[in-house]
Amino acid sequence: MKVGFELHVTPLTESKMYCDCPTKNAQPNLQVCPICTGQPGSKPMAPNETALRAGIKLAKALNCTLNESVSVMRKHYFYPDLPNNYQLTSEPFGENGSFNNVGITEIHFEEDPGQYDPKSGLVDLNRSGSPLLEVVTEPDIDSIEKARDFLEEFSALLGFLGISQKIKADTNVSINGGARVEVKNIGSISGALNAIQYEVNRQAKEGAVLETRHYDKDTMTTKPARLKETVADYRYMREPNLPRPRASLQAKNGSTTYSTT
């Protein structure tokens, strides 16, 4: 088996990524403003400094090569929890790292979408625009034990760095050189391990096709995603509302600044 992760880390911040709305819990749709609800005419504010600092710290701890300057891109896709129908996501600011003998492909920052409940059809935008750090690993993991070790060490690292306790571990699993299956909606380390084990068994029995599946923590199984979540082309475009020539994330002497020149 070959397993890799897309780890979504929610860094501890007071406010959202591109606006001043608080990130703490509240009644649905109360922690919102024109920016994080995508009102026509609104523009993103400067990326949250605390989130950027956390990202640089994490990239260094994962032995990544740091890129001095990255652009923020619009990633276009249609989904019920995404008011703009595009998500702001940065180019990788750290690349080619390694941690616990697992290759780290890249780390970038992005914004969380809102929360969509397919049963009721309701959307809560309190989470919309919250900061996320996404760490992508190489598919270097070849056993459940190694997957457990990696996730536990990674989570300990986040605690040690004081970045967050909140991670989501999307995982991709393939066996015997077969198609890569992505599993999303995993909320915990034990969930990730269960999902991997279930996928290994299922793929051995049913075979695998390139697809995205959702983990169901109650049944500890995976199911094909209800809505199409991957599109052929996100039409990535630099966010023109962030300053030209580029929104840069600079890592000099350990400090992080958002530069507008």
Binding site: G41, K43, A46, F78, N84, R235, P240, N241
Partner: protein, 391 residues
Amino acid sequence: MTLKDRHGAFISLTDTPGELAVKDNICVQGFMCTASSKLLENYEPPYTATAVQKLQKQGLTVMGKTSCDEFACGSTGTHTSLANPRNPLDEKRVPGGSSSGSAIAVKDGLVRYAIGSDTGGSVRCPATFCQIVGYRPSYGQISRYGLMDMCMSFDTIGTLTRNVDDAIYLITGMSGKDDKDLTTMNSVDVKETPGLAGKRLVAFRQILESCDPGIREKFNEATEKAKLHVDVIDFPEIHKSIPTYYMIVFAEFASAMQRFDGKFFGKNRELLGQEVKRRILLGTFISQKENKDKWYTQAINARKWFQQKFEAMFAKYDFVINPTMPSPAPLVGEITDPITEYSMDLGTIFPSLMMGPSISLPYQGMGIQLTGKRFSDSALLYSARDLEGAL
């Protein structure tokens, strides 16, 4: 609607008197914001644009929201089904766009001040056809927070007024850094400067040649009357400014329109007009992975080329001068194909590419446009005031 609004200037109007009209793609709390589109007929923005807020703090009251080409897509000012904008000087002719209603409202004396948006000429074109003053500020001079995205790297909020002094008043009030528009800059205050004396002017032969003979004649007459010395130079590549500009516009516009799918904003997209649909489709096409390098990236590189070219030019000259529009206002319905409409913008597009300020002054039925380098707004405004006096 009041009876006074004879030429389709307004989409929504209050009963209380005010002195400011705002183009309907700029959000003002208490007014619908339709972008002159059926799609957004019911959109009520929960906030007010920074530029409008600043003018309100100065004591101006918004009287109404003005018609425009749907989502600011057009140069005639008539691409909308929510109003019927007509040129106050000749009702058979178009008012010019896209900020048509703002120009009409000022020309008809319904308000003293109007603001619009200028992406590639959208305040200067209607200002010319309605014979008033239109000002496009430097990109980064005035916050765009609350202005609906059209083409984000070219969009600006500009002014439509009877004279340059009124433009100076509005631009002074709206300028400055805003945390909610990161492209705005510090220290761009408008200050009184010496004006036109000693300024070096240049014109591009290819823009002059693209104008109707009558327009060219008036232009020469104006420069003689104002005793301007103008160097006329060759700039054949200026014709490439049109495809460069429109490629970038289409791509960014398609991205900007992505949110109007009826989920949170807008209604059925069938309601969109033909020009808007055309731009979304073209923009989606040219920003796709397999087409991007051939179209979008090339346009971005061409923009860079133009910026460097202009930087070198502005080391030698203070302002570019040219007729704002190449012909008189077309008759309503006269222009039927988009290429003809786009090519009308040859004189107004280059300031967008190099991010500089540009002003159009009325002169005998045509427009005289002065353009400066980025953030030369003070020098340009006070020079334009001198030129206004000399014409």
